[in-house]
Point group: D2
Chain length 286, copies 4
């Protein structure tokens, strides 16, 4: 099975010898490195990040034993925070959506075309409207009403549906507020698409805000959700040029294209284990 692969993500205090230790370990065990990215923050007492992708076909140990050996021989001495994952089976992705379907459908389309290394397993919406569209892709759809007065019940129901069934949760224009408890339950695996070039126009109705400010460029931002609204680590952003001719509706139309593109890129990066979080920032090994 020479084509089988695994991905090793590491975060640790920066110091000499890390690359030699990691690559030496992998070489001794028959792992052929095919992709290698690294980054270190420049500060005194900097942090080192790396992502290695290697072929597992000739590795001399089962993956679990390789993990144990790595922990003992490399990770412990270098105080590493690390994860070794196989791209198979792919991550299970659940999507929360309200009425706007563009970001959801772009995800489903891209996935159906085989361009998203993931398994879209579940769509939850607080409206029933998108059921047939979703089920047309062979994906389970659950209608979970939500709103100011039923938040607790809604979230309980969603947790029930999601637990053990989703590795990543994507907010594809989900217009309900999520509680701090819900957000922290999915910390680091909850991605939102915000329809502005954050930190500009955080909060509600960003296209109207952008129109009122008269900006010449609008954008969209995919980020991990944290307790603080629209302030989580940014994964990906993109922009489009606009002019005085563009009304709020034009900005929304242009924005939908940005949102689709930016969200799919962010989900792909996450599913390929290319994003590491560091404080409120990301290291993206694109």
């Amino acid at each position: 099975m020479p084509d089988h692969r695994a991905i090793l993500l590491i975060r640790c205090p920066d110091r000499p010898g890390i690359i030699a230790a990691v690559s030496g370990f992998l070489f001794r065990h028959g792992a052929n490195i095919i992709d290698f990215d690294q980054h270190s923050t420049d500060d005194e007492g900097g942090v080192y990040f790396t992502r290695l992708e290697f072929q597992t076909g000739r590795v001399d140990l089962p993956l679990d034993e390789l993990r144990r050996a790595f922990e003992a021989e490399v990770a412990l001495p270098y105080s590493m925070d690390w994860r070794l994952s196989a791209p198979t089976p792919p991550k299970r992705v659940a999507v929360l959506v309200s009425r706007h379907d563009h970001a959801l459908l772009e995800l489903l389309w891209t996935w159906q075309r085989g361009e998203l290394p993931a398994q879209v397993s579940l769509v939850i919406s607080n409206h029933p409207d998108l059921r047939s569209a979703v089920e047309g892709f062979g994906v389970r759809f659950e209608h979970v009403p939500n709103g100011r007065d039923q938040r607790e019940a809604a979230e309980a129901r969603m947790v029930e549906l999601l637990d053990g069934a989703a590795d990543l949760l994507v907010l594809a224009r989900y217009m309900q507020i999520l509680s701090g408890g819900f957000v922290s339950r999915y910390a680091g695996r909850l991605i939102n698409i915000h329809h502005s070039f954050l930190p500009a126009f955080a909060g509600a109705d960003p296209y109207r805000q952008a129109h009122e400010r008269g900006v010449k460029i609008v954008g969209a931002t995919a980020h991990y959700v944290t307790a603080e609204l629209d302030a989580g680590p940014i994964i990906e952003q993109d922009v489009a040029r606009v002019s005085h001719r563009d009304e709020v509706e034009d900005l929304k139309r242009l924005g939908r294209d940005l949102e689709r593109r930016v969200l799919v890129r962010a989900v792909r990066l996450h599913c390929e284990d290319r994003v590491l979080v560091h404080g409120n920032k990301t290291v993206v090994f694109a």
Copy 2:
């Protein structure tokens, strides 16, 4: 003189017949329209904006008499706020600068190459450092010290230098605060380059702010200066992609390129009478 041109800028309440009235007037007087842009805000009781460029070689009246006739026959009946200007002589541009020379030098270079339809007539700096660079372009340089305790005297001296000598005042990374009085004296003809994608990262040290927020795109914004800091009408913006690898110094370097480009574009647009202000927004007939 068939190649001589004039530019007519109009803002007025929107209603039927404006184009027919304006173009009919110009045709009757022998003016050949060569460029025509228009925009109307969509709101009830909308506002109509237009910019016409026409050849004056066969116009049957001197420009001043044409102005009087236009006022009586067209502008008054349609309640127009208007301006008829000739591109010759070009607008006189004065530049305020501190120590960063990139935006200033880009302006001088572009002007020297004949690509800026303007006359750069004066550079004022609160530091003496750039004198020889500026004078090398054959442009007058004045050192006017400024700072918290000498603002009033500094601004008085600058007004003395500028009055009657500058049609446009450009802040090319001028790091001193200007008083409300100074700003309002040059209302509508005072352009600043801000080193961020406004409204994100208004205020001081925007590249540091951008680095701390972990954005994936940085920008620069050229805007008219108003009493409210960094909130005036935006003329032009541009952006560049960055990553976790870029330190604050990298953002500054990338930003300098954006600032140069965006400021020169904004100054060119203003000098070609292509920018109309409407509230805190601009209509740019690019």
Copy 3:
């Protein structure tokens, strides 16, 4: 019916007075101009192009009589090539497609979302694969086998299906050669999406060509089809940055996004009567 609109497209020899004549005519007949673009080529004996959009609610004549009056009073004296069209009913769009579905589905999606001012009326494919996807949008699907030996029959069948049923014909990655006769029958209303930044990499397999040449940017081009392959008037182009890491398959994936975006923009521009052809170039009033 104050909201009803019409669009007037004009091409004529450039000379003074055209705007006054056209706008005066429209004003006298109660047409309120809401959008006005113009362009003139600078050459001696230049050509003038204009697009006017106006409200027809208070026009004093039926559209056909207005046309006759315009022909007599304005078009004839100024030797105009012109067209007055109403946006309702919208243009009927037929799509030719082979197996790649991305460009087709983007068109159908955009149209279904109400963002394409058109009526997608028919999809013809030389493969049966996309029938259910297309019919799911409520659009008629016809399988017309095509190939080297059956070109004549195939085109005869397509003409039968298209004549009187389509105002615009879109090649959304249709991989069969069309005869000169077929192309000329739909001259000016046959749009193709080419998967390169034309004129670079015309002909077959442009992503492989781009990969072999080692370009750092790839693109897509929407153009009107003419007798000469890949050389017709360009309507719209867009690009994406690539690197040595991108294999041919990556370029194809990135390219699919470009193709989708560029084709939809071009079809929208055409359907809004914003594109005028001049020799092998276009004037696009975006």
Copy 4:
């Protein structure tokens, strides 16, 4: 001297263990890796490229002995084509230019501001016009007339000036043809800026070609010069959007900005040893 750095560039047949061998060697000798990029072509019998930047402050051998040890212990067993270079002293850059000064001045400016890790040591022009501008930067200027009938003498004189005095030769809009002998003498260290988005519009007058073709985007390309005109390995490209309004002169103005930006980026990448050539393509570790 913990801040001193060295750069190791390697090209070799791809096989397991390269990273472990290289990083193990550097670690044993006290070199702290601070930047590490790699790429391997995917073909059977692929080629592996890597660039390592490391601190030399605690290296246990003089650089020359380290080179000998690396050759014996690592490079030979892995059949490496490699180069170990120190960023100090910086590469000496000579520029060939004709009359257009924008690309040259951008290089000089960027260098003067300390943003180009190089030493601009010499400018040669076939016109005397730019002498004072160049000498104002403290850089030597040599006027070497060139043309159809004096090519041989001109190139002999240039070789005399350049040999031993330049590590990189930049054609900043040098409008004379260079002989095959001259080009091959500077193979791999001769960079040209072409004023189009190659391979579109190779050859003369590309902005006129672009205008005639009616493209909606123009570009510029920096590439290594090879015997075949405009066909050498591309280092960097960039583009700008244009429209039917842009005349050839407008394309030239927009293009000058692209040329400046693209050439400086390419020269910086080369001077930082970030570009490896592979056939007619480049691997750029940006």
